[in-house]
């Protein structure tokens, strides 16, 4: 950064510097540029389209259009007029565009008053009180001891880096894991795209209960990660939720594409719900 400042200063006062000085400063500037290109997060440089499948029961195809300042998420191949999400990446404002009645609503980024997750269960004693649980009848052999109870089921959600890497669709992905109760989510995510934005179908309710599949996106976005594969399973192995990117197509968006980041001109803005 010092080099950039020095270069700026030299340009502002060209007559006070000789040609040699300018050459040196230019070298410093380009060095700084290269350094910046190498060290800056490439996630903010990605521009293009991603196709993904969200399998939550039925497989739902999603299309992400990623611009430098905006993001659009929409459901494709559907027989219903599902809303389109438009996100202002700098402010975090989410606009839900409703084709169903040609309207849209702008939602400010959620503050910290978002509904809490499920409260933790109280710890369970390892042994039951006397007289509770399996008891040995008189004259019978003693019952086996109660097994150790599992840990409390609703520990706080933590995005745990598992220390493994792989390559998915040409992107280096790190392996993360989230556990809660009898659920475990495996995530392979990269920082080479953009912070994750889940598809939002309806205006959120302030007191709605939240499950893991509604909280994991925030954990990823907080670390500027985008998942290429995420699978949520129950402890018996059954898969309950899957997000999987099918293709990533970097491309420079055209002026026409940038119109996708605005609601259509003839759509009416409705106010968010008053609670």
């Amino acid at each position: 950064m010092a080099g950039v400042n020095e270069y700026t200063s030299t340009i502002c006062h060209p007559k006070q510097s000789g040609l040699e000085s300018r050459t040196v400063n230019a070298k410093i500037f380009f060095t700084a540029l290269v350094w910046a290109a190498l060290t800056c997060r490439p996630s903010f440089a990605f521009e293009g389209r991603l196709a993904a499948n969200l399998t939550y029961g039925a497989a739902t195809p999603l299309l992400y259009t990623v611009g430098t300042n905006s993001l659009r998420v929409e459901m494709t191949d559907t027989n219903r007029p599902y809303p389109v999400d438009i996100v202002d990446r700098s402010s975090g404002e989410l606009t839900l565009v409703y084709p169903r009645n040609h309207s849209f609503v702008r939602l400010k980024p959620a503050a910290d008053d978002s509904p809490p997750g499920i409260p933790p269960m109280p710890a369970t004693p390892n042994q039951p009180p006397p007289g509770i649980g399996p008891q040995a009848a008189p004259g019978q052999p003693a019952m086996p001891a109660m097994p150790m109870m599992p840990p409390p089921i609703m520990e706080p959600l933590v995005l745990q880096d598992m220390g493994q890497k792989t390559n998915l669709l040409g992107f280096v992905c790190e392996h993360y894991e989230i556990k809660q109760g009898m659920e475990r989510m495996e995530i392979w995510a990269t920082d080479q795209l953009c912070p994750f934005q889940p598809y939002v179908q309806n205006e959120p309710h302030r007191s709605a209960p939240r499950r893991m599949e509604e909280q994991w996106a925030g954990l990823l976005a907080g670390k500027n990660l985008f998942p290429l594969l995420a699978v949520l399973r129950l402890n018996n192995g059954m898969e309950r939720y899957r997000f999987e990117v099918q293709s990533v197509r970097p491309q420079k968006l055209t002026d026409e594409d940038t119109r996708l980041f605005q609601p259509p001109a003839d759509y009416f803005e409705i106010q968010p719900r008053p609670f």
């Binding site: 739902t60 219903r80 499920i118 109760g181 209960p209």
Partner: protein, 368 residues
């Protein structure tokens, strides 16, 4: 002789009756004290309310107002309330809009006001659902709505809204005994209480409120049937992938989702019934479920009838074929039923039974 005596007796009785029944006969002045005062009431005394006989109409003063006839607008709002402390009685009449196409207009518009009561009538437009969840036509944008988003101490009672493009009744404090049908967005949004009401054929959520009682919400589009913090004796139906009924605490409720979402979802559910007709479910999902029934009617290896991610007590979970009937962290006195799949999948099970299918129980008590 006897006859003569009888005649004398009767005559005596008649004469004495005059004396007894009219003790004040002939008393008091015959001249009246003055001209009699008028006894009729003024119109203001008989009907101390302001009549409204045409629309658009703007209320600018506090007071009581009533419709005297059906009114129709072909452009703009029906009635605008721009004063606090207003009671508006539609008196059984209707506010129509013929504006085509429907735009951002209101049957009754609350212009930054508080303390308003609206009752007894109809707000009607011509907006229809094309069958795929896309709404259009003539009419108002919204039936009743404020322009401010703060709670405005507004009570709406006995109002029926039909055929609006955006919302039915929104932003009011208490909505009671109201019906909404065929609106492109949310049917009823209340900042506080919704009671004894119904919202059907809504493109967005059917009913959305903090406390909802004895009500029915039906989303024909992509929203949730009924969405609240507390729901009691309620019914929620989602034709798309929204939740049938979504609440923090539910009692005696029924939720159904036709696509892949959850029929009834809550943090705490008691005496509730959830159905998923789509391919996944769960039929009912809660942190704590007591005396509940969850049903996943589709054939899907990942379908779940009842999913209690905390505890299930006295519950029944059914999955049509494949998948899991009932899954919970702890389950007591529950029944799971899933032919060709897992009947019960729990970490801690006590006194539970699998009716059809296999069981997956890590810590098992009082179970075969």
């Amino acid at each position: 002789m006897n006859m003569k005596a009888n005649i004398v007796t009767v005559a005596g009785i008649i004469l004495s009756s005059f004396l007894i029944l009219h003790p004040a006969f002939g008393q008091g002045a015959l001249t009246p004290p003055g001209a009699p005062a008028p006894t009729m009431k003024s119109l203001a005394q008989i009907e101390p309310r302001t009549p409204i006989s045409s629309a658009p109409y703007i209320i600018t003063n506090p007071g009581s107002y009533y419709l005297t006839t059906n009114v129709t607008v072909n452009f703009g709002n029906g009635i605008t309330i721009s004063a606090n402390d207003v009671s508006l009685d539609l008196n059984g009449f209707t506010i129509f809009s013929t504006q085509y196409p429907a735009q951002s207009t209101y049957g009754i518009f609350l212009n930054a006001v508080t303390n308003v009561t609206i009752a007894n009538g109809f707000i009607r437009g011509g907006v229809t659902n094309n069958g795929s969840g896309v709404y259009g036509g003539s009419g108002f944008g919204t039936g009743i709505a404020p322009n401010n988003i703060v709670p405005n101490n507004t009570h709406v009672y006995g109002i029926s809204v039909f055929g609006c493009l955006y919302r039915g009744i929104t932003g009011c404090t208490v909505v009671e005994s109201c019906t909404v049908q065929t609106v492109g967005g949310d049917g009823i949004d209340a900042t506080s209480v919704v009671k004894d009401s119904s919202a059907v054929d809504c493109g967005g959520d059917g009913i959305d409120g903090e406390e909802v009682f004895n009500s029915r919400g039906y989303s024909a589009g992509t929203g949730n049937g009924l969405f609240s913090t507390v729901a009691e004796n309620c019914y929620g139906y989602a034709a798309g992938s929204g939740y049938g009924l979504l609440a923090t605490s539910t009692l005696n409720c029924y939720g159904i989702s036709l696509e892949s979402s959850t029929g009834l979802r809550a943090t705490v559910a008691q005496n509730c019934y959830g159905v998923c007709e789509g391919n996944f479910g769960p039929g009912l999902s809660a942190y704590i479920a007591q005396d509940c029934y969850g049903l996943c009617n589709s054939v899907n290896p990942n379908g779940v009838g009842l999913y209690a991610y905390g505890s299930a007590i006295g519950c029944y979970g059914y999955c049509a074929d494949g998948g899991i009937g009932l899954t919970a962290y702890t389950a007591a006195y529950c029944v799971g039923d899933c032919l060709g799949g897992t009947a019960i999948s729990v970490t801690v099970g006590n006194g539970c039974v699998g009716r059809a299918g296999t069981n997956y129980v890590i810590y098992k008590y009082n179970m075969p």
